[in-house]
């Protein structure tokens, strides 16, 4: 579904990604794990068009070369990016945030249905639908950010650190929802520092270090590997 081929990203003199290649197949959850500042978010920004790659190609659904497209066109092809730090519209109500996610859609009836579907998954958002999004807690804001992306009915969902800054119990529920969304058909590329949670949710994973993929394979294999256990799961 998504093929990242030898992608490099530069920020001025900083070489954030050095020839990264990665595949996501339809229906999968794929985890990209790595420490802070290794290029995880840069890769998602390259895919969604916020920071176009300086080298390499990104191909979506076999035919669309998307690495030269502006973000709004990439969204139009069905890729939704939930950025790090959530970036919800703090001056909007909860419902307006969700409607912003459905901006490119014109099927009013189905938008209304999807809204109810979201409210089914996150009843808290329904209770607060008319409330300013700024009044939500961190976990609720993360739920809103994911829901807003889902309102666009994406084929591929890019999640950047959904567990960041959240209490463990909230993280559990966010990951439960991620699996639930995946079971309903969404393909997910998940970027995480929380390697344990991410690899348990994902079927396959990649490990990134200083802008390069250093390991890849089925999650069970990565979880069992000595290197991952030492560096990312805190075992000695």
């Amino acid at each position: 579904m998504l093929s990242v081929e030898n992608v490099s990203v530069h920020y001025g003199a900083i070489h954030a990604l050095k020839g990264v290649s990665l595949q996501v197949h339809a229906g999968e959850i794929v985890a990209l794990i790595g420490a802070n500042g290794t290029g995880k978010s840069s890769l998602l920004r390259a895919i969604s068009g916020l920071t176009p790659p300086s080298e390499g190609a990104i191909v979506f659904q076999g035919t669309h070369a998307i690495h030269r497209l502006p973000p709004h066109e990439i969204v139009g092809l069905g890729i939704a990016h939930v950025p790090e730090g959530r970036a919800i519209f703090a001056n909007f109500t909860v419902e307006e945030n969700l409607m912003a996610g459905a901006y490119l859609r014109h099927d009013r009836l189905e938008i209304a249905e999807d809204l109810e579907w979201i409210f089914g998954i996150f009843p808290r958002l329904k209770e607060r639908r008319r409330q300013s999004a700024a009044t939500l807690s961190g976990g609720e804001q993360q739920m809103l950010a994911i829901s807003r992306a889902l309102m666009g009915r994406p084929r591929l969902l890019l999640l950047d650190e959904p567990s960041l800054g959240l209490a463990p119990i909230i993280v559990q529920s966010i990951f439960k929802t991620i699996r639930q969304i995946n079971a309903q058909g969404a393909t997910i590329l998940l970027v995480e520092q929380n390697a344990h949670m991410a690899l348990h949710a994902a079927a396959r994973g990649y490990v990134i270090q200083t802008g390069q993929i250093v390991m890849e394979g089925p999650s069970a294999e990565l979880l069992a590997s000595k290197r991952v256990r030492q560096f990312y799961l805190g075992e000695t």
Partner: protein
């Protein structure tokens, strides 16, 4: 007492013209964080071009409500186009430049319009007479207080346009996109919003309102020259700051206050101070409440 009420009415009329101009300042500031100093000149172009539209269509010689409506529509359309053109040619190439470069460019655009307009082949420096599109008549009379049809029209059109704009921004899909762009370009683009297009629409809307203000102004001050946009533009900018820049209801309230303050100063102090009062208000607002009456306190993200 009647004199005072009559003054208040005058103030409200001019205030509602300032309010219409202020809306454009506030909308553009909302999406670009730019004080578009060329906005007052777009307002002037609205008035100036209306003189030509009236001549070409012949509507200037036969006063009627229909003629006025037609000129209003033409002026709004022309200014929308001019606004979009200014954004496309002058501001869009600077999208990733610093805000100071953008501000200086805005001043440059303003100087260009004001001075190019004075060239003999363009409009010339001598004021041109604005056609009387409607005959001024008393509309309502209470004792000695009279509201003329023009006053009622100016206030009514301003209120209607402000209301329509508020509805548009709060309730429609494009309005939602504008507010999303005003919040953050990147996040807006991740929703599939074409940010540059939305900025273009914002300029068109704001400029169309300035065009309408130009026509309404011409009905009250029937002599227009290429510098006519300067002072009303600056006063409308003060109105936008007073109301809280970025806030649409704020721009309206600010416009009315400036109009009233100016008229009352002229009426009870001296008309010499009329143009200065807006600047006095600006200084006080910046000292006491820089976020304006209805503006939100902006916390800079670190």
């Amino acid at each position: 007492m009647e004199l005072f009420l009559q003054q208040l009415l005058q103030g409200f009329k001019f205030g509602s013209i300032y309010a219409l101009i202020a809306l454009g300042y506030t909308m553009v500031y909302g999406v670009l964080r730019l004080i578009n100093f060329a906005h007052g000149d777009v307002f002037m172009l609205g008035a100036m071009l209306s003189i030509f539209f009236a001549r070409w269509t012949g509507w200037g010689t036969r006063p009627s409500w229909l003629a006025l409506a037609g000129i209003l529509a033409l002026a709004m359309a022309a200014c929308a186009l001019i606004g979009a053109l200014i954004e496309r040619l002058a501001y869009r190439p600077l999208r990733n430049a610093s805000r100071l470069s953008l501000l200086i460019t805005a001043i440059g655009v303003s100087l260009f319009i004001e001075n190019a307009g004075q060239l003999p082949g363009v409009f010339g420096a001598t004021p041109r007479a604005f056609p009387s599109l409607v005959e001024t008549r008393p509309w309502i009379t209470w004792g000695t207080l009279t509201i003329s049809n023009v006053e009622a029209l100016v206030i009514g059109v301003s209120l209607a346009l402000t209301g329509a704009l508020h509805f548009f921004v709060q309730r429609t899909r494009i309005g939602l996109a504008m507010r999303a762009v005003a919040f953050d370009f990147r996040t807006a683009s991740l929703m599939g919003i074409h940010v540059n297009r939305v900025i273009g629409w914002t300029f068109m809307l704001g400029s169309a309102l300035a065009g309408a203000a130009g026509v309404l102004y011409g009905l009250s001050y029937p002599a227009i020259d290429p510098l006519s946009g300067f002072l009303p533009g600056i006063k409308a900018f003060v109105a936008a700051v007073l109301g809280g820049i970025g806030s649409i209801p704020g721009a309206f309230v600010g416009g009315i206050i400036i109009g009233e303050a100016e008229t009352l100063t002229a009426g009870y102090l001296s008309s010499t101070y009329k143009d200065a009062i807006a600047f006095l208000i600006l200084i006080v607002v910046l000292l006491v409440k820089p976020s304006g009456l209805l503006g939100r306190k902006v916390v800079e993200k670190v």
